[in-house]
Amino acid sequence: MSAVADTAPQAAAKERGARAPWAMTAPALMLFVGVLLIPLAMTVLLSFHDWGQYKGIEPVFILKNWHEIATDPYYAEMFWRTFRIAILTTLLTAVLGAPEAYILNRMSGRWKSFFLLVILGPLLISVVARTLGWALLFGGNNGLVNKLLMSLGVIRAPIPFMFTETGMVVALAHVMMPFMVLSVWAALQRLDPQIENAAMSLGAGPVTIVRRIVMPQIMPGCCRARSSCSRCRPAPLPRPRSSAAAGSRSRRRSPMTSSSTR
């Protein structure tokens, strides 16, 4: 390889150098195109075709489907709910996960490994066991969480968690937490270990250091985490038309089964 490069004209070598990254990413790129871009494109094409219960898919060009999405409040509500849950989940994950990663990064070796395992927990437990666990914690008026909150005097009446958006957001934030912690942790590890000392020597207090120096540098990590969160977000599953009129649509979705991807 190097012998060839030695004899080849420099321009050719440079060109090969420029092509190397493409060649190396080609397999992953092809997979990406094959399983994501092509199906997506096909779905977009499909959206312009007509469909009927008895006639099936008809390859004609119409805008009926798009018109329906834009005008039917059923879809607007669905999109808005999806969006709202995503934002709330991300916020909750960031608010809890970023400080968690910061503390984790400052721990010494042995404790760090232990707590990393604890944080990865949700990913290691099967969906069924996890769902059951949350059901026990949240379930009915006698759920552990409600009992605890009431005995602490935080609330007087039990909060309905099961089959509510609150419950969904809490349970989703729990599953997404490892992604957030790991992304932020990775960003923290890329920080210059002396950078906090540098800020301190210039007169910055601990709050200022986190706000002005650490946060701006780990924000890219937070964003990465947010995109992995949205990947695993509940997909907006349309209901059969017949139940669309029922106002309690969201109540019938259990928090965990709507987590679609894994």
Binding site: D192, N197, A199, S201, L202, G203, A204, G205
Partner: protein, 346 residues
């Protein structure tokens, strides 16, 4: 009274003592270097002054006040880190302005001082650059400007030039010295490069394994090294095993066939240490044979096999005829050019 004073400072990590019995008095405006091999505790000492580490024992005082009682953020010291530790999400100007912001300096004055500081390190016009779009030397200058703009009482530099290539390093050394002379800030530089320590400092603190080996001007430490370690670490040197015989008067210092009247004090086995450039070829002295002769432009380098072990001799290329390889010679030096230490040469 000393401006900055370290009094028997020690630092332990667990059972390991990393710095021990470190006492030093730094005068105002002085340029001090901590010189020693990697791992000898230079950074640890500097971080104790900065306040990032607490000394296990001993006291650090600035103008007579106990410095260890003051939080690092309130010490008002300027620090340049080996990795520069610039804030990557801020421009050069924002980096430099950070310390002034923390001191609530009004905006207009801040801008003025940032501009002056950047101009002083030769970076006028680079205000809006981000560190990652600057070369190592430029980042180094931003770090220096950031530390100096707050008018620190002491400037601490931890191997600031070690990431630069040789040519740039030399340029920065000269510039650093000039800036320090101009503004007169008391400065402590940590380095493992003896040339850097010699060319920059008023005084050098030579360290080994957490202890001070010698404190002195560059010339003192080079010409009168207090220990074998110092003489080895500061440039090349020749160590000859010798003995001082005080049984007969007058006492004599003898190494092989070479013998001179003994200096006062020592007796028994000693080490005679002579720098290569202080040795000449003469008629009487240590007998030796030239093994190799290397021409290096402005000087000749001879490797000799003497009766007291191998020796290196450096002679100026002053146009005189020089002995050739294989020739038998006598090595001579003036008494004031040697240092004599107790104990046999290692």
């Amino acid at each position: 009274m000393a401006y900055l004073e370290l009094d028997r400072v020690a630092k332990q990590f667990g059972a390991m003592t990393v710095v021990d019995g470190f006492s030093l008095a730094v005068g105002k405006g002085e340029f001090i270097s901590f010189l020693g091999p990697s791992g000898c505790g230079k950074t640890t000492t500097l971080q104790m002054i900065a306040g990032f580490l607490d000394p296990t024992r001993g006291a650090i005082r600035l103008e007579g006040k106990d410095l260890t009682a003051i939080h690092p953020a309130k010490r008002g010291l300027g620090i340049v880190f080996q990795s520069y530790a610039l804030f990557p999400h801020m421009t050069a100007a924002e980096n430099v302005a950070f310390g002034l912001e923390m001191r609530n300096v009004p905006r207009s004055e801040r801008a003025e001082r940032v501009r002056t500081a950047l101009a002083m390190v030769g970076l006028a016009g680079y205000e809006d650059r981000h560190p990652r779009r600057m070369s190592g030397g430029q980042q180094q200058r931003v770090a220096l400007a950031r530390a100096l703009v707050i008018k620190p009482s002491v400037l601490l530099l931890d191997e600031p030039l070690s990431n630069l290539d040789a040519k740039l390093r030399e340029e920065m050394q000269i510039e650093l010295r000039q800036i320090q002379r101009t503004i007169g800030t008391t400065t402590i530089l940590v380095t493992h490069d003896q040339n850097e320590a010699m060319s920059l400092s008023d005084r050098i603190v030579v360290m080994s394994q957490g202890r001070i080996e010698q404190i002195g001007t560059p010339q003192e430490t080079y010409e009168r090294p207090a220990s074998a370690f110092v003489s080895q670490f500061l440039g090349k040197t020749n160590d000859f095993a010798a003995t001082i015989d005080r049984t007969s008067a007058p006492a004599r210092l003898t190494a092989g066939s070479w013998s001179v009247p003994a200096p006062a004090g020592l007796s028994g086995p000693v080490t005679v240490s002579v720098r290569p450039e202080r040795i000449g070829f003469g008629d009487v002295g240590l007998s030796a044979k030239i093994v190799t002769r290397i021409f290096q432009g402005n000087h000749w380098l001879f490797q000799c096999d003497s009766e007291c072990g191998p020796a290196i001799v450096i002679r100026q290329n002053d146009g005189q005829a020089q002995p050739s390889e294989g020739e038998a010679v006598r090595l001579v030096w003036r008494p004031e050019d040697m240092s004599v230490r107790a104990g046999a040469a290692a």
